[in-house]
Symmetry: C2
Subunit: 330 residues, 2 copies
């Protein structure tokens, strides 16, 4: 491995000068700089980023901690963040927690040991509060997105969950569904409690009493959505706002089993606008979060050391599962 010392020896100068020339320091003669650059090129020099980072006391690596990377939402969010971070010279270590608290703590801690420049973080379902984060992460700059803890320092990028759920529920009401329940997700997590509030407000603004017995929490996966939808059917629901697309998918499974016609006899709206929502039969209406923009915003907030909460609008994509009598499309 070629070092700046090797270059210095070859040129009969000192490592300091080489270092300056390579760093673009103006206090070095143009002639010398050219000689150094030429020699570096010729000898195949590559800066040792480890040593450089150690000396400067900073790293050009950031960590991204998400529950899973095989979700359209998170993978697009990562792409959005990388598009900004890459330009700024940062690389990302991506960690999956698989929704497990243990794994999450280990990931945060490892990133801290690596002295990363910052951590982008969306917490897992098993994490019911933020108490584990700062002990594991220390004083590393934190940017949270989507699933955020309000009581932690640093920037927070969130979707307009209240408004999105409000719009989705209103859409179901306007479509003529009468007994609208919700697969509400994990209510200890803000994204889900916000969505529940939006759902409730939409009902009340339309003169429909909020009925606790139509709220089915803790189901965001296909299997749990399937089970909860069965309960919703038993409770007499004719529509569901699901706080996640996988739960909506499970609901579709249950409705098919019951031979209930969607959207004629049952309306369905999911959340996240996953790729597959467009492909099912019937396709699934969904409120989407614009993850790519959220990732970009998170990266910008990090680069500018901005604090505070940024809210990104959500968009309702109406598809077959709530398009009763074709009133919305075609």
């Amino acid at each position: 491995m070629v070092t700046i010392t090797d270059i210095a020896e070859a040129l009969g100068i000192t490592p300091s000068t080489v270092s300056r020339a390579l760093a673009g320091n103006p206090r070095v003669r143009e002639e010398t700089r050219q000689a150094v650059l030429e020699a570096a090129e010729r000898m195949g020099y590559e800066r040792n980023v480890l040593a450089s980072n150690l000396r400067r006391g900073k790293s050009d690596i950031v960590g991204i901690v998400v529950p899973r990377i095989n979700r359209e939402f998170f993978s697009n969010l990562i792409s959005g963040a990388e598009s900004i971070l890459g330009q700024a010279g940062y690389r990302a270590i991506i960690c999956q927690t698989h929704e497990e608290l243990d794994t999450e703590i280990k990931a945060l801690h490892t990133l801290r040991l690596h002295r990363v420049a910052g951590v982008f973080f969306s917490h897992c379902i098993e994490a019911t509060d933020s108490s584990h984060v700062l002990p594991a992460l220390g004083r590393i700059p934190l940017v949270q997105f989507d699933r955020v803890f309000r009581d932690l320092p640093g920037a927070k990028i969130v979707g307009a969950n209240f408004e999105g759920a409000y719009e989705a529920t209103t859409h179901l009401i306007l479509s003529g569904y009468k007994r609208i329940g919700t697969l509400a997700g994990y209510l200890h997590t803000e994204v889900y409690s916000d969505r529940l509030r939006g759902y409730r407000k939409a009902l009340e603004d339309n003169g429909i009493p909020y009925d606790q017995s139509l709220v089915f929490p803790d189901s965001i996966f296909r299997e749990t959505g399937y089970a909860s939808c069965h309960m919703a059917i038993d409770a007499g629901c004719d529509a569901l706002y699901c706080a996640g697309d996988y739960a909506a998918l499970g609901s579709l499974d249950a409705l098919r089993e019951h031979r209930i016609s969607v959207p004629d006899d049952f309306g369905l709206v999911g959340t996240a606008n996953e790729f597959f929502t467009e492909l099912t039969n019937p396709s699934i209406s969904s409120v989407g979060q614009r993850p790519y923009d959220m990732g970009r915003e998170a990266a910008i907030a990090f680069l500018e050391s901005r604090e505070g909460v940024t809210v990104i609008p959500m968009e309702l994509h109406i598809r077959q599962s709530s398009n009763r009598n074709n009133i919305w499309l075609k």
Copy 2:
């Protein structure tokens, strides 16, 4: 930041001893070790991995370079690799190339600058040969998977593409389809040329002449699959083996537009067993690669510095799109 020197001073010993105690070196008195561990804990010491890696001349970070992380195949492969690497104390930097050669070269080069311990690599579509890899990567240990270049050093983990395509095509033949074409993918890439060979062999073993005009290359995305399927229909095909699931999905779009009934009048088999293949209407049969196992194998090959090619079997998942007259299921 607390360093080993701080601990040493607090205990009236030298940094070396602290380092040894922390590293679990047996050449240190149990009593001393306890004192060090206790002090480290109390003072909130955290090892500086950068410094440690610099000194030891090795890194505990590996790079994973893939075209995209929002594919079931790649995300599961990454999960599989991480499951092994994590146990061995390695962390992964994940890089997406978005199928662009430029991005791929930059990713490899950045990983080299970071002196990662190894690189796991599946090349992008734009890379038609391996000439850019070693110049960008240098002497960093390389493990390739799925889309591999044979002429590069290091381990290679590949799916049984020939056999998988052979099985898929045979399945279409046995289902009674007569004019079977293929959306063959990019034939400069081995996974795709292997699949084409498997397709061809299956035809020939069943007495069906191989017809070049039924081979439609360069389509692995939904849009290009859609376009190629139109051409296949025009060419009189009544079935397609697609070397990718997204191309199969695009084919379904085209067939729906033509009001051609699948699987009654047209058979379809894709490749990769993406999550969505199960959800479409009709659902899409697909040959899957067992990505989680491939990731594990890749990680093991890296840890054991194993060279050579490892082949992972593929599995045909028969779904509606090729289940003519219900002869395969139910």
